[in-house]
Amino acid sequence: MSEYRVLPGPEHFLPPAAASMGIRLPNPGEAHINGVIASEEKAYEEAARQFLMAKVPTIFPGPLVLWAWNEKAAKKATAIRHLFNTLKECVQPGQKPMLIPMPDYRPKYPKINPEVEINPNHPNLTIWHNKIDCCMFVGVHCHQANLSLKIIRGGTSCYTIAMCAQAGHEDAMLSFRDASVEKIMKLADTVKRLKGTVQPRLSAKNGGAN
């Protein structure tokens, strides 16, 4: 097993792809935390804990759930909205959950508007501008998600979570695979269950992403 661990950065001028460092994706029914295969149950707990600890827990929904291109996508979008609302209900004063879409993948110049969107080619602008210290990608095409997750790990201290509908992401610090409405709802339930049990990082020293 690889000794490499997928941890919050800033890691390197050009961090490696975790797959190239020997990190393997989870099999169905599993997840990974920091590159180590873990049970989904443990991953729900850890993801919820990270959300509740964060000063600016943020969900980045991508095109696969932003448009109602099939019934499943529409249901997932509703579940994601429910997760966001749950986060808002469960955080303490001073924490600021955000929902920032990744509507498409075009490189945008001179730069994106980080208030309203995130782009896989410029993710750090959105992370830095909004001081996001924990984020979850959902509904982003896998290639684009991995581009972004590596850049975020390279240049920020943001904790990254992937709720992937396919095989998962080694480049996130925590990844689910085969994401479904049920899994998103279960994460929301876990956040609700852990409400009040996790101390948020609200001090200036620890809050916000580098």
Partner: protein, 403 residues
Amino acid sequence: MADTHSVIGTKNKKGQTYTDTWKMMNEAPRTPSFFTGSEVIKEAIRRASCDVMIAYPITPQSEAAALIGELFAEGYIGDYFRGESEFAVMSQCAGASFGGARVFTTTAGPGTMRAMENFPMWAGARLPIQMIVTCRGINSPLSIQPDTLEIAYLLNTGMLVWHAETAQDFFDWILKGYIVSEEPDVHLPLALCCDGFFVTHTKDVVNLTPADMCLPPYDPYRSPVPCMDMECPPVRMMRDPFVMKSNYISYATHASWQQEIWAAVERSRKHTIHWLNGLVDTENTDADIVIVASGTAVSQGREAIRMLEDEGVRCGLVKVKALRPWPEEEIREATKNAKHIFVPEFNVTGWLAKEIRATVPNHQRVHAGPHVCGGMTMPPEIIVSEIKTTLGMKTFSLAGRGS
């Protein structure tokens, strides 16, 4: 929208049943058939639920492109046409794949080289195209004879590269290759190589799966990048190409993109091991001498091992099936006991020996050879001779008649 699993058990327009691939390849009855390698390619594609095949059938290296034209006439291929050059063919393959089609093509030798610009583009665009490479000479003066030098150029394109030894490998790996390369965490093109002429033109007994079973169709909605439609044409990805910008983030994005291609090659390892039953096959790797080879050099190595056994020399064999992903750990493990590692190859540069030297500890154990090239055959006697010479045993000269 296609859903791969929901169509299992239903029939296509030719009456073939979409079948679970594992069952089709491992549990369905097989029929022994006596075919050339080119005919085997045709039979595999008959069962592959291919949407598009694009051909540049000028090369006499393989009849496969023409034979698949017959499949199109019979209704087994969605579309089939000829490009105006190899470069055009590979570009057209990209277009078809961008559009969500399962795509097949063949090439060889100078055609591979002419089309080369497209292969890193395929990988970068995450297009799971399958390309058969029936290797032949690439340099001037031209040769249509087998020579595996072109594989060396494919190794760093970001494509998956497999090297078949026999027509049976070819049949099975064409079908399994689509399954591996279309996995959403892989989603890369596959160069499925064989040594031209030896595999393509000679007949062999090949055990075929039932012709009334076929692969489930490709599901482009599992792709890690958006497939092309009128809302999201690929030009949107390319409208502001990174090459046009000079700033840190555009470089970082391009770097991350390249890393992701090679990460996908790494991810294919798990799936390739599952479907090919390992990246390598091994025999007697506790021996002091091990032959490591790919393609038909494996067959010649196997025969050389039999001949050496008759003389009391015990030899192991490592058949390298996948070159990308590279079986680094497997080769290291299989050669850990070897005092001498021989790498017979059908090319002048010895690219496989170089890869193995870079992989194993104490690389002075690696003997790069024997080599033949330009269409020469590799009699097992020259492998035997090379090994015996290294061991200080008396041997003979195959080429000379002596005085």
